[in-house]
Subunit: 298 residues, 2 copies
């Protein structure tokens, strides 16, 4: 039985208790009951603070409905809304509090796909030839600083036009800017790519229109995505951010973190360019990063 | 310009400030900016309290998506969700705080339709002949207790099977259980109907499934809907609740209020039944209510 009979009729003062007393604690999943009790409490506090008019409430109902209607197999507008309100990043943060010395997490994003092509050290992930050449150097270490051999490094980024391959099927080569690498005996790996650039999240739906109405831009700070895994260690989902990006401090989805900014170095060294296979370009970039995994379940 | 540059990178501690600093106060509508600032604050407080796992967050995203996909021209699942979480009733309450002596408001609900048939005093709104006969007596008064002449009283309720006519097109007569009345020279009106009964809100969608998972029933306490209007007075949207309903204290959408419970009286008085046109029934009901309007804009 619920506790509803303990409560008088719904009123402004008792609104949270009146709603939550309806939950039948003997029948409800305890976690669901806790989550919904907290949701009701915070939702009612929001309503009491802003006191929406009936028309404003209806505007909110229509916004949520339009957001739902925008969602398809290929477009998740509620995730975009969660991202742009900082909710996705907050959920990621509370689930990956730092302190064990591992590389910081950030959000996965909607553009990861399974079964990236396995590539060898030094291979390029850039199949369309666009952009400023970049060599990415990495080392995978345990929190005790010992190298981790045979870790998988799953990598993806946009092309130089600011789109992921899956957003431009038929325009970009399949699996453009994607690759799966493995760390060597010294924990090291490297691959060739192009300097990442900022790009707008899809902003032609309700979430994007809300950003516009708030005077917010839709741009993600330039980054490379990585997932680093090794059995016996906690998986790390992270980015390398490009330090010169004008949106570095204004990432539209709040994924940027100080510890994830890469040390990007520009070079015109002809001998080094030759060594890296970048001899055709007037200049190139290099970035070197240590990725630290904590012993764990994964 | 936004205040984003004042903030360090997003963190658990500064999450609300980091998101809200992105709003460009010079470009955003001030009210929208205030509402979104408050929403972000309360939403992040909710996330920090329950610390959802990534899978739980995704369950929430899917729930909202399914709720959006359930919405059609004829079904508003987000309103049902708002109703069952007490949000609709709370919005109604903060917009109609009592204190001026007027009849209390309650929620409009989704089943009002425009252009109810105009009916004369004593007409019945029950076109399908089902249910226990009821005579509804009303008096429309100003807050100074003077009768209000020529007020319109717009009335609707479910039939005795628990459905509104618009939910059973082709099954019930059109405009069954609906009527528009006008108060006479003494502010009075009356009409015939049937005793209202409880009924479930549509519970085959995500909002209904959530109720089920929380061990909550979907039933609305038995009621008659009324909208009472007269130029020069604030409009009143209200219900008359049936005091014997088993769900009176557990109305699924939190619309019930102490002051709105009708004084329903059962009778077997044959002379009175004859007078009211209820002679064919073994018993009948009567309810008499004063409706008080405050001088205002409407």
């Amino acid at each position: 039985m619920s506790d509803a009979s303990k409560f008088p009729y719904f009123s402004e003062e008792n609104s949270v208790g009146a709603v939550n007393a309806r939950i039948d604690q003997a029948k409800a999943n305890p976690r669901l009951a806790n989550v919904m009790e907290a949701l009701t409490k915070h939702l009612h506090a929001f309503i009491k603070e802003v006191e929406p008019t009936h028309d404003e409430w209806m505007t909110g109902i229509k916004f949520l409905t339009d957001t739902g209607h925008m969602c398809t197999e290929w477009r998740q507008e509620f995730i975009l809304l969660s991202d742009t309100l900082g909710v996705s990043s907050l959920v990621d943060t509370v689930n990956h509090r730092s302190g064990n010395g591992a590389t910081e997490h950030t959000i996965l994003g909607p553009f990861h796909v399974q079964n990236h092509p396995v590539r060898a050290h030094g291979d390029t992930i850039c199949l369309d030839g666009k952009g400023e050449p970049l060599a990415v150097w990495g080392r995978v270490l345990s929190t005790d600083r010992t190298p981790i051999v045979g870790a998988t490094i799953d990598v993806w980024q946009t092309n130089d036009d600011g789109f992921y391959d899956v957003q431009q099927k038929g325009v970009q080569p399949d699996m453009n800017m994607r690759g799966m690498f493995e760390s060597g005996p010294d924990g090291r790996f490297w691959f060739r790519s192009v300097r990442p650039r900022f790009y707008p999240i899809p902003d032609d739906g309700p979430a994007g229109k809300l950003l516009g109405a708030l005077g917010r831009h839709p741009n993600r700070a330039a980054h490379i995505h990585l997932i680093i895994e090794k059995p016996g260690f906690d998986k790390v989902i992270t980015h390398i951010f490009e330090p010169n990006c004008p949106y570095l401090r204004e990432d539209a989805v709040f994924g940027a973190k100080d510890s994830l900014i890469g040390d990007f170095r520009k070079s015109t060294d002809a001998a080094r360019a030759q060594e890296l296979g970048f001899q055709a370009a007037p200049f190139f970039w290099e970035v070197a990063t240590d990725f630290v995994l904590a012993p764990g379940k994964s």
